[in-house]
């Protein structure tokens, strides 16, 4: 039974929890902004999210959820799916008009069915003001410029960095990790020479193949589309990018063209691969389970290309609420609670930085500087770009990513020996079809 003074209790508890989270916390946080979200009477929620990549993710998220339930009386049922399965499940929920109230989805998901989602502007703006605003990519993925409203609450990215073996880098003749593309290629060639080759997926690995190919593409100044969504892939910059990838592929461990998402983790942890691009999970697992490899495993922010800017590609996760939800205010209260300082800090810290939050003030969390190998992941948001850059996020960019158009273009040149101009033209034709259809 609800407490007779429930509404008043909620107001107090929300304020109290916000204040509790601030103890020893950061300046400019939720204290100055009274929580405007009051759960509906007898509300309960269903959350669909991805299964944690590292075990503490799920555990701490569930613990924080219990705290929310204790404070508000709102029961939250959490359903977890393997991360690539969240997108189709959420899409089906949008189609049939029933299912989870809240989804923690990926990348352009909210733009595929923006009219099915509630306006999240009040929550996004409230949290943004309270936590130092958002990194640019967050706005790109969550603010719909057509309808001029936030369609999702930015959560963060499963950040990518270069993961490498320190001793092998030294053996290959490098005292420190190179910060530009030519140096990076030389390191890859050096690693190949000492029989510890690098490995970057060119198969249909949703996260790992898209991440490094987009990083190179953007680093050379190439782009998939223009701001008006006209296709811009056919450019000399793209030629440079795929030619660079061809040289890099020559240094890689055999078999990367068949690699799916787990493959690079497995090869690295087995000591067969000297360098790859990944989230912090390899290091995290090494720390707990591979004591021989862990001390030698290091991270670097992906080097910069000719455009002299960071161009990191990450998987971005955001939370959105379907209009069919009976408890939209409870959903917003839940997200405000879960992403507030007290909860976000324990969550990100417990995961050792697996998710880099989209809210800027969380870049100052102590976890990021607690170990030098965690620090590169702090910067995953700052240098990030969104998929489909420099076009508009939406159905077309989502589909291009889902269909591996960019990955296949790189694989055509690097693996299949297709001439760059032919591979680029093929990608251009596919992109034109996708963008026209969407």
């Amino acid at each position: 039974m609800p407490h007779p003074d429930r509404r008043r209790f909620l107001e107090l508890s929300a304020a109290g929890l916000g204040a509790a989270g601030l103890a020893g916390g950061l300046p400019g946080t939720a204290e100055a902004y009274p929580a405007p979200f009051k759960p509906e009477k007898d509300a309960s929620l269903q959350l669909l999210r991805w299964t944690g990549f590292v075990k503490n993710d799920d555990i701490i998220w569930a613990e924080n959820t219990k705290k929310f339930t204790a404070a508000t009386g709102v029961q939250v049922q959490i359903q977890e799916l393997s991360w690539p399965d969240v997108t189709p499940k959420a899409a089906l929920a949008a189609q049939v008009g029933s299912g989870p109230d809240i989804v923690m989805g990926w990348n352009d998901d909210p733009f595929v069915y923006p009219d099915k989602l509630i306006d999240m502007s009040d929550l996004a703006e409230y949290m943004g003001k309270a936590h130092g605003g958002y990194f640019d990519t967050a706005r790109s993925y969550c603010y719909d410029t057509d309808v001029k409203r936030w369609v999702a609450m930015p959560v963060g990215v499963t950040g990518n960095a270069i993961v490498y073996r320190k001793s092998w880098m030294h053996e290959a003749g490098f005292a420190k990790f190179p910060d530009d593309f030519p140096g990076f290629l030389k390191l890859a060639q050096g690693l190949k020479k000492i029989n510890h080759p690098c490995g970057f997926s060119l198969g249909h690995a949703v996260g790992d193949a898209n991440s490094w190919t987009h990083w190179l593409l953007w680093g050379f100044g190439a782009k998939q589309a223009n701001p008006d969504n006209s296709i811009a892939i056919n450019s000399p910059e793209t030629v440079n990018a795929v030619e660079f990838a061809r040289e890099l592929y020559a240094t890689m461990i055999p078999g990367v063209s068949g690699w799916l998402d787990p493959s690079n983790n497995q090869a690295f942890l087995a000591g067969q691969c000297g360098m790859t691009m990944n989230g912090i999970s390899i290091w995290y697992v090494a720390k707990d389970q591979f004591p021989a490899i862990y001390p030698d495993t290091a991270h670097a922010v992906p080097p910069i290309g000719p455009i002299k800017q960071r161009t990191i590609s990450n998987n971005f996760t955001s939370a959105f609420v379907f209009k069919y939800s009976k408890y939209p205010q409870a959903a917003k209260a839940y997200l405000a609670f879960m992403l507030d300082q007290a909860q976000a800090d324990t969550w990100v810290t417990g995961m050792r930085g697996y998710v880099t939050p989209a809210l800027k003030s969380y870049a100052d969390l102590p976890i990021w500087t607690s170990d030098p190998e965690i620090t590169p992941y702090r910067d995953a948001m700052a240098g990030a770009r969104y998929d489909g850059f420099n076009g508009r996020p939406g159905r077309a960019s989502a589909q291009a990513l889902d269909e591996f158009v960019i990955v296949d273009m790189f694989a055509d040149v690097a693996v299949n020996g297709v001439a760059p101009k032919d591979a680029i033209r093929k990608a251009e034709s596919r992109l034109m079809t996708i963008y026209k259809r969407a």
């Binding site: 997108t87 189709p88 899409a91 089906l92 949008a94 189609q95 595929v112 069915y113 009219d115 099915k116 060119l202 198969g203 249909h204 690995a205 949703v206 461990i253 055999p254 078999g255 990367v256 063209s257 068949g258 690699w259 799916l260 493959s263 497995q266 090869a267 087995a270 067969q272 691969c273 159905r395 989502a398 589909q399 889902d402 269909e403 591996f404 296949d408 694989a411 055509d412 693996v415 299949n416 093929k426 596919r430 079809t433 259809r437 969407a438």
Partner: protein, 281 residues
Amino acid sequence: MLGFVLVAPAAVLLLGLLAYPLFLGVWLSMTSATLGNTGTFVGLQNYAAILVDPVFRGAAAFSILYTVCAEAGKLALGLALALILNQSFRGQRAARALMLLPWAAPTVLSALAWLWLLDPQFSALSWLLVQLHLISTNLNFLGTATSARASLIVVNIWRGLPYFAIGYLAGLQSISKDLYEAAAIDGATGWQAFRRITWPLLAPITTILVAFSSIFTLTDFQLIWTITRGGPTDATQVFTTLAYERAIIAGQLGEGAAIAVSPIVFMVVLAFFVVRSVREQ
């Protein structure tokens, strides 16, 4: 009237579970529906679009290649296995039970096991061949178009083999021993007995096995999605994986439905040959 009442439950089941989804799929394939949007009627526009789409054409070609090669392999090996298991030997019952394992195991589990067997770095098959000094470096099973396609066909054969073997075994046991005794008295060799007695009498079961198995193979999704996700560079896309990618992941329901409906053409052709074959027999 009573007849209608008695037939009604079956009719409702068939209409609800078979006819409705089929017609819905066909209808969706003629609309511009996307996830969250019912779209409008566009006639055959989606079909026209996929026919000029090189990814779809590649998927259609590999679907047919996959089905034909896998069926041929399953038929030949299934028959051989059935002939062996039809002999009397110690452990025959255990062998028959073990034979069913690939068919009985959940597809995703066996696909994951094969994913490890075909892994470029950790393949037990490569390891064995390296240990036997037959190769010097690991085989790149899933890294090139040809090897990935061949690998998937082998996995499908492995999985579907028991279906043929058990079907043929039943067929073999229904053939009267008298026929073989008569042939032996006439001096027929083992091959002649197989060619003139066994194979013709297995023809009806062959038709049924090939027909059903072809449908399963043409609509296979789990093995391919788990092992390659249609890669590398779309080399192993089939109707089902592409339809899933377009309709469910990318949200293009109309086009995805057109891709999903298109194998019906091949199935109708297949059904025509099956029916004709049965009639001839």
